[in-house]
């Protein structure tokens, strides 16, 4: 349910041209074949009463409220389950159906609490609405008979209540859980009058398989499933459409408020990325924005050992500007730089890189994509000519074979995972390439055809072996390759070599050769084969090589340039794509154009009025190295927590300690702020105007639902720092910044706030050739002209397991938490994941005497931490896994400085470690976890 009502046509849209003509209450309407009578009526402007029907779910035909009469047909069929037929004449309001509907409503209400005035859904209840629509005036059956009015409510979930006394057993929640979310956690228990919705066999919601995506709450037509925030605060009174600030799916939401108090976030049906769906983070985990831990006043200190001192904005900005200039005077203009954030808007990122290039006078700007998807940018640019994924999310609905490599979409990109699972339930085949048995390998109604459970660090060997099969078994799409690609012969000769065969690589990858051959054949022979990948690809010393390897395979099989195919990075943070697009890599301007390109540089120099260096600046790891060697002394960190998120934390903190001036702009005093001299409080996404660009290149508007609690917009603060350093950057509104971005960036030429408001969202490139954007890339030709095959030699990582460090650690995320946890740890989501856990195989646990739940030490060549063990056969023997959501664990204490050869992206996924039972006193660490949890949610 939602305050801002979007049209609901009752049943889903059917594809195709309108070829069936029907007449509804005398009004003619043409619809595609298979369209329901209910939808046809709605398209004619006639809403038929309904309770169990909604257009996000297949018709169910249970509530009997939508009955109609059809000329020439007997009885009163349900309009939701009756397909419109050519020449059909439908009557939606006749004395007969009116009487039937009233009778149905009477029965519903005879077993429903009539506490409408005090019900949290008052004014937002479809049962209430339908009672009015059908003209119900009395309930003849009384309320004394058998009923469910005393049914006990389940309040176990932190975000919503389940009150079965209000349930009308329409099954919308059950169907939403299955059809939309794909979890199948809910069921109808019992028969007849005893029928009731249940999250498993007598379980509470919190103990069930429910993932708290909110689809059931949204689908519920009554107050049976109700947001706790609505119960506590009351019904919202206004609604603003904006974009989620969590992962790279980029879901659109209606932020529903009372005054300036956010009551709930409801997924927006017109959101191009999510089309009305959500996950637990975007839907419910917004409480961090008003958490008492937020810092709202600027603070400064001389030394990092001093206490913070609150100051006015003017002093804080002056301190930054003077400090940075002073460092440059003493150590050279290249001694300072900045890190932009993928959690910030495009406009904020743009002004930071502009400040660095124009006001700092160097190119020392990098973005946190350095440590996640920089190999995507490099690899796809080399092969396809554009540093971005090829498809929109809808494309997966046309895929016949889906290959998921090094990604865990159900946890990391859950709303996209729901789309993918829907397609898999429809019959698409799945190949999972991952050391872990992630949920996609086998979950309700889904089973991967092949799970290639490779040894971490051997991605390139696996992709080369798949290519070997494609080339040597004559599975290449020869016409595609001949027409559209170059470099094939050399590459084909390379992958055909015996050392790249599945049999030869089996000893390295541990993937059975026959299994790999079968997976390769499946992908190559599919009419449409799509590849989706994540950080399990990029965060390796050969991350860029692997991206190019996947691009090679896709080109060889002709799987580029149409719906249902492609090579698609699943981006971690909300604006990873955007932060890269906005020119915050040290070697590139906006739109991925190199700083050495004279023509491009001239555009910026003319507009900005400053000379721009033609040489690349420092990347993040280079900044740390340069800080330790003394040539880099001042850093502005915008919205990132490098002291928790970056690898080998000892090295990171040593670099931060070595600097003269560290400026942190963030919502909270994060781990990096412990090393800062100036803290500039940031604004939450609820306080921002701007845009985010998601993993499908979709530029979405972010709209402020309230003023910044700090009194200043983040882009304003950056501009004021630049001005204080002698370079005015003047904008009245972020829309002007986007106009400037469009002016200097060919792929953004047609994007403006006006065009975004008109079209909802736009996938770049958007320009004269594609005025409404580009959902699918490389349709007729690649951006670089010919797609380029690149030889991708497998080179083992330098990280080696030894008798001292015999296990391989990989890291990743969990559904309920987000990255370093700065936001989600400050929400009710800690109920699901209060601490980082180390998953290890039962064999590895047993030989070490480790039991499930024991505290263990995790030691690598560079560091050690303590955390709780979870014994799990999801892991293969020899591989352990943990998350990095909690600073108390600091998982990156153990990760090394190995990095991708092309981009410096850290090799987070491969660390040789040892695990052992912790000293009994380490139990105190568990207490610290508990303390941390309470500190952040109290």
């Amino acid at each position: 349910m939602t305050l801002l009502k979007e049209p609901d046509f009752g049943t889903p849209e059917r594809p195709g041209e309108p070829t069936v003509s029907v007449e509804v209450d005398g009004l003619p309407v043409a619809v595609p074949e298979g369209t329901s009578v209910m939808r046809a009526a709605a398209l004619a402007g006639i809403d038929i009463p309904k309770l169990c029907a909604t257009d996000s779910l297949d018709a169910f035909g249970s509530c009997r409220l939508c009955v109609v009469e059809i000329d020439g047909r007997r009885g009163t069929p349900a309009s939701c389950t009756t397909p419109a037929a050519d020449g059909m004449r439908v009557r939606t309001q006749t004395p007969k159906v009116e009487k039937l509907r009233q009778g149905v409503m009477e029965l519903y209400l005879s077993d429903h609490p009539l506490d409408c005035l005090t019900c949290p859904a008052n004014g937002d209840c479809e049962l209430q609405d339908m009672a009015g629509v059908v003209g119900l005036r009395q309930v003849r059956y009384g309320y004394e008979g058998e009923n469910h009015l005393d049914a006990e409510a389940d309040r176990s979930n932190p975000y919503f209540d389940f009150d079965p006394s209000k349930c009308i057993v329409c099954s919308r929640c059950v169907r939403a859980c299955g059809e939309v979310q794909g979890t199948f956690a809910l069921t109808i228990e019992g028969r007849g009058f005893d029928s009731k919705v249940s999250p498993g066999a007598g379980e509470l919601f919190m103990d069930s398989e429910c993932v708290s995506c909110g689809a059931c709450v949204q689908a519920c037509p009554t107050s049976t499933l109700q947001e706790r925030s609505v119960v506590e605060l009351g019904m919202p009174t206004r609604s603003v459409v904006t974009t989620c600030a969590y992962c790279g799916v980029g879901c659109s939401f209606k932020a529903e408020l009372r005054g300036d108090e956010l009551v709930r976030m409801v997924p927006y049906k017109d959101g191009g990325a999510n089309e009305g769906h959500s996950c637990v983070k975007g839907r419910f985990a917004f409480g961090y924005a008003t958490h008492p831990d937020r810092v709202l006043k600027p603070m400064v200190r001389e030394r990092i050992t001093d206490p913070w001192r609150e100051v006015e904005w003017e002093e804080a900005i002056r301190t930054v500007a003077r400090g940075m200039r002073s460092i440059q005077e003493r150590h050279g203009s290249g001694a300072i730089g900045a890190i932009t954030s993928s959690r910030c808007t495009n406009e904020e990122v743009y002004v930071v890189q502009k400040m660095v290039r124009a006001a700092f006078g160097n190119n020392n700007v990098d973005t946190c994509a350095r440590v996640c998807h920089s190999p995507t940018g490099y690899g796809l640019k080399q092969t396809f000519g554009e540093s971005a994924g090829t498809q929109d999310f809808r494309s997966v609905a046309q895929a016949d074979v889906i290959v998921v490599i090094g990604a865990n979409p159900t946890d990391g990109h859950p709303v996209f995972a729901s789309r993918m699972k829907r397609r898999l339930r429809e019959g698409a085949r799945l190949v999972v390439i991952d050391p872990r048995r992630i949920d996609l390998v086998r979950s309700p109604h889904i089973e991967a055809a092949h799970h290639l459970q490779l040894t971490p660090s051997t991605n390139v060997a696996v992709i080369n072996a798949m290519a070997h099969v494609v080339v040597t078994e004559d599975l290449v799409d020869k016409s595609f390759v001949a027409d559209r690609c170059e470099g094939f012969a050399e590459w084909a000769e390379f992958v055909s070599r015996p050392e790249n065969s599945p049999e030869a690589t089996e000893s390295i990858t541990r993937v059975p050769s026959e299994e790999l051959r079968a997976a390769a054949r499946l992908y190559a022979r599919a009419p449409n084969g799509a590849i989706y990948y994540g950080l399990g690809v990029t965060e390796h010393s050969q991350g860029s090589t692997m991206v190019m390897g996947m691009a090679n395979l896709a080109m060889a099989c002709g799987n580029i340039g149409r719906d249902g195919v492609g090579v698609n990075p699943l981006r971690g943070q909300n604006n990873v794509q955007g932060s890269c697009d906005m020119g915050s890599f040290p070697h590139e301007f906006t739109g991925y154009r190199h700083v050495s390109d004279d023509a491009v540089r001239t555009v910026f120099e003319d507009l900005w009025g400053r000379t721009i260096l033609a040489e690349p600046g420092l990347r993040i790891p280079n900044m740390f190295d340069a800080a330790i060697d003394g040539s880099f002394r001042g850093l502005f960190v915008h919205g990132e927590d490098i002291a928790q998120s970056d690898p080998n934390l000892k090295h990171v903190t040593a670099a931060l300690e070595a600097m003269e001036l560290v400026v942190v702009q963030d919502l909270f005093l994060n781990e990096t702020a412990k090393f800062a001299h100036v803290f500039l409080p940031g604004a939450s996404f609820l306080e921002k105007d701007g845009t985010f660009t998601n993993a499908e290149r979709r530029v979405n508007r972010v709209r402020a639902v309230m003023k910044p609690k700090t009194g200043k917009h983040e882009w304003q603060i950056v501009c004021e720092i630049a001005a204080a350093m002698g370079y005015p950057m003047e904008y009245d509104h972020p829309g002007q910044i986007m106009d400037e971005i469009a002016q200097v960036t060919p792929t953004f030429r047609g994007i403006s706030y006006a065009s975004l408001d008109k079209l909802g969202s736009i996938q770049w490139p958007c320009n004269e050739e594609a005025p409404e954007g580009t959902p699918t890339m490389h349709v007729d030709e690649f951006v670089r002209g010919k797609g380029r095959f690149v030889v991708t030699t497998y080179l083992p990582t330098n990280e080696r397991t030894t008798s001292r460090f015999p296990l391989v650690l990989t890291t990743g995320r969990i559904l309920s938490q987000y990255n370093v946890g700065a936001q989600t740890r400050r929400t009710g989501n800690v109920a699901w994941h209060p601490e980082d856990l180390l998953e290890l195989h039962p064999h590895d646990a047993e030989v070490r005497g480790i039991g499930d739940g024991d505290m263990v030490t995790l030691t690598s060549r560079v560091g050690e931490t303590t955390l709780r063990a979870r014994v799990s056969d999801r892991m293969p023997p020899g591989v352990v896994y943990t998350t990095f959501h909690h600073p108390v664990t600091g998982a990156n204490v153990v990760t090394t400085e190995n990095s991708d050869w092309a981009t410096n992206c850290p090799e987070y996924k491969v660390t040789a470690v040892q695990v052992g039972l912790a000293h009994p006193l380490a139990g105190r660490a568990a207490d610290r976890v508990q303390d941390d949890r309470h500190a952040v949610v109290d």
């Binding site: 280079n622 030699t793 092309a902 410096n904």
Partner: protein, 68 residues
């Protein structure tokens, strides 16, 4: 890192590999990093791939500037 770049282009003939490595370093590395690498090469290049040495010293250049 430099050796890793050289290895990534290891499938190419030596001259082409040196050219590719030089181009990559020129395109992605900050000048101070390139200068430091050049100093290392001039200091004997111990442990460094010959491809890197060739990349930084094309046609007898020793100033640390990568080739075009």
């Amino acid at each position: 890192m430099a050796n890793d770049i050289a290895a990534a282009f290891g499938h190419l003939p030596d001259e082409q590999a040196a050219e590719a490595v030089a181009g990559h370093i020129q395109r992605f590395w900050d000048p101070r990093m390139r200068a430091r690498l050049a100093e290392f090469v001039d200091g004997g290049a111990e442990g460094l791939s010959p491809v890197i040495v060739a990349a930084l010293r094309p046609a007898g250049r020793t100033d640390g500037t990568a080739g075009d």
